[in-house]
Symmetry: C2
Subunit: 340 residues, 2 copies
């Protein structure tokens, strides 16, 4: 059995899509138990619309909700009975293995560190979403809110990301690369130049060197290591360029003549399929790695499918003992450091 606490109040489509996603997850996997955290009355009335095995879903009352606009540190400190704080406390108290939320990114990042807490030795827990590529998916690590990282942070990101891609996503010996503005080793800003040799010296990852942003959508690496400011820019530009291009293509077809409109009708299913495969929301949530437990952030506009995928992702995470593997990797790092 794996117990996943789910923030029933977080995101644009809460509670209906969140509850629907939770029901879908427990229906798909009998080994999942979901604790739906939120305003009991609201959640229960939503649950009535679905049928499921009652022992698989429990409601945990939380009277408050953290808005996305609230300053995260304050929100976590003050709203002790919010769905995010209550849900994270369930993980901390070992009443849940994982917490999934589509709520305020900032609050989730702060709560993860402050409430759930870091694995001993982890300097900074990165937020690591999967992004679509021509070849499948890549892990973009770090897209969190803590910017201006140090080289040692990036090295830990590379190690944790590599473990995640190998054991959760199932990519053998994942290629790890650092985001850079040229392929040559001497290129880069101060941070990248300092980090490059450290990554090269890691014997437990498959470091392939620098990756230029152009190569990311082509699937040039499986684990894309980056400081959070740059990671954030990449993630958001990915969405932005994709959305704009799709919007323009659709508009271009619709504003065309009769021939074009007929053509648009005929290509629609194929086009939809392609666009779906390039839609980040299809790939479940982004784990906040390096915590004593698992916290998964899903898109703010998540629908039931993504919520369901994010919950199921937690099963693999626990089955594969990702945190055990991270601890082991940090221990090795420590020993190597002492021997060096």
């Amino acid at each position: 059995m794996i117990t996943v606490a789910v923030d029933a109040m977080g995101g644009d489509n809460a509670p209906s899509e969140i509850v629907a996603g939770a029901v879908a997850a427990v229906t798909k996997k009998s080994e999942i138990q979901v604790l739906l955290v939120g305003k009991e009355e609201v959640v229960r009335s939503e649950l009535k619309k679905h049928s499921y095995r009652p022992e698989q879903i429990e409601v945990v009352h939380a009277s408050e909700v953290i808005d996305t606009e609230e300053p995260p540190v304050n929100a976590i400190r003050r709203k002790k009975d919010s769905s995010i704080v209550v849900g994270m406390n369930l993980v901390k108290q070992n009443k849940a293995d994982a917490f999934v939320s589509a709520g305020s990114s900032g609050a989730i990042l702060v709560g993860g560190q402050v409430i759930v807490g870091r694995i001993k030795g982890v300097e900074r827990p990165p937020l690591a979403p999967l992004i679509p590529t021509e070849k499948g998916v890549s892990l973009l690590i770090d897209c969190g809110a803590n910017v201006d990282a140090r080289p040692s942070h990036l090295v830990q990101f590379a190690r944790m990301g590599s473990i995640y891609m190998e054991h959760v996503v199932g990519i053998k010996n994942p290629r790890v690369a650092i985001v850079n503005i040229g392929a040559e080793e001497e290129k880069g800003n101060a941070l990248v130049k300092e980090t490059f040799p450290l990554l090269k010296a890691c014997t437990d990852i498959n470091f392939i060197g620098s990756i230029e942003a152009r190569e990311i959508p082509h699937g040039g690496a499986d684990v894309i290591v980056s400081e959070a400011f740059v990671g954030n820019v990449i993630l958001k530009l990915y969405e932005g360029v994709g959305a704009t291009l799709i919007h323009m293509i659709k508009a271009g077809m619709m504003n065309g003549g009769l021939k074009t409109k007929l053509g648009a009708l005929l290509v629609k299913p194929a086009l939809k399929e392609t666009l779906k495969s390039f839609d980040a929301s299809e790939y479940g949530g982004a784990p906040l790695l390096g915590l004593n437990g698992l916290v998964v952030k899903t898109h703010g506009n998540s629908k039931a499918t993504e919520v369901c995928n994010s919950i199921i992702q937690c099963v693999t995470f626990k089955e594969q003992d990702i945190n055990g593997k991270i601890r082991e990797s940090l221990l090795k790092e420590k020993n190597t450091g002492e021997n060096a």
Copy 2:
């Protein structure tokens, strides 16, 4: 009359497309004179394929070519008779108003600073390409090779970019924004936090605050200010996501059934039009701003159209006396600084 030196040997399609672009430019604008810099024999034999008014095109011999793989500083120092060094010297000696090249970015950036030289007071000359958006184009400044900028650099980028967008591209009172990971003023890395109030205090630009990468393709600002590492990532990811998505859409249509294939045939012209409007190479070259003269870097894979557009761009640049306006703006900045 305006005289533009053009690197006949630079880029993937040199010399044929470069020469064709030069001929197109002088044919369009009778006030342009082009100095084609490169191996005389090669350039002359290429010129024979075209007809043009001979007084508008002159060949300036340069026996060497700088490869894109060569370390730029060394290349500029050693290859004194390369097309890039010879062309830039023409600008330095006032024999040409501008220099256009599709050759090695690194060599162009280094040569611009070392040979052509900076306008007095300019701390760092930024490379500022135009990028396509839903609403038209935006100027992305800086995408050069000098990373880890200081706040004062970014402020000058904002000023120079604003002048360029207003007087060359023709956008009145252009909206200037700084790339950030959130819209709130307190967000950002150390550099952005330090730069934000300085930009806010500039009375000569229309500073609208932070821009998240997601909003760039939507046309959220006219001048996108960024440190060169981040600017480079944005520029290259723009190309990468666009190219990948287009490739996937085409493949999806071609691998579909008969219906889809027929539809693809019908939407092809509209699709082509849309993709063209989102193709960075349609927007001429990227100026290296803040130099005593003008240096324009065009894409390495530039064809005649882009070369022609880049040459014509130089006319507006000179007519509008952009460098005079930059000098004036720096003077104001200096005075404000002294009064503060």
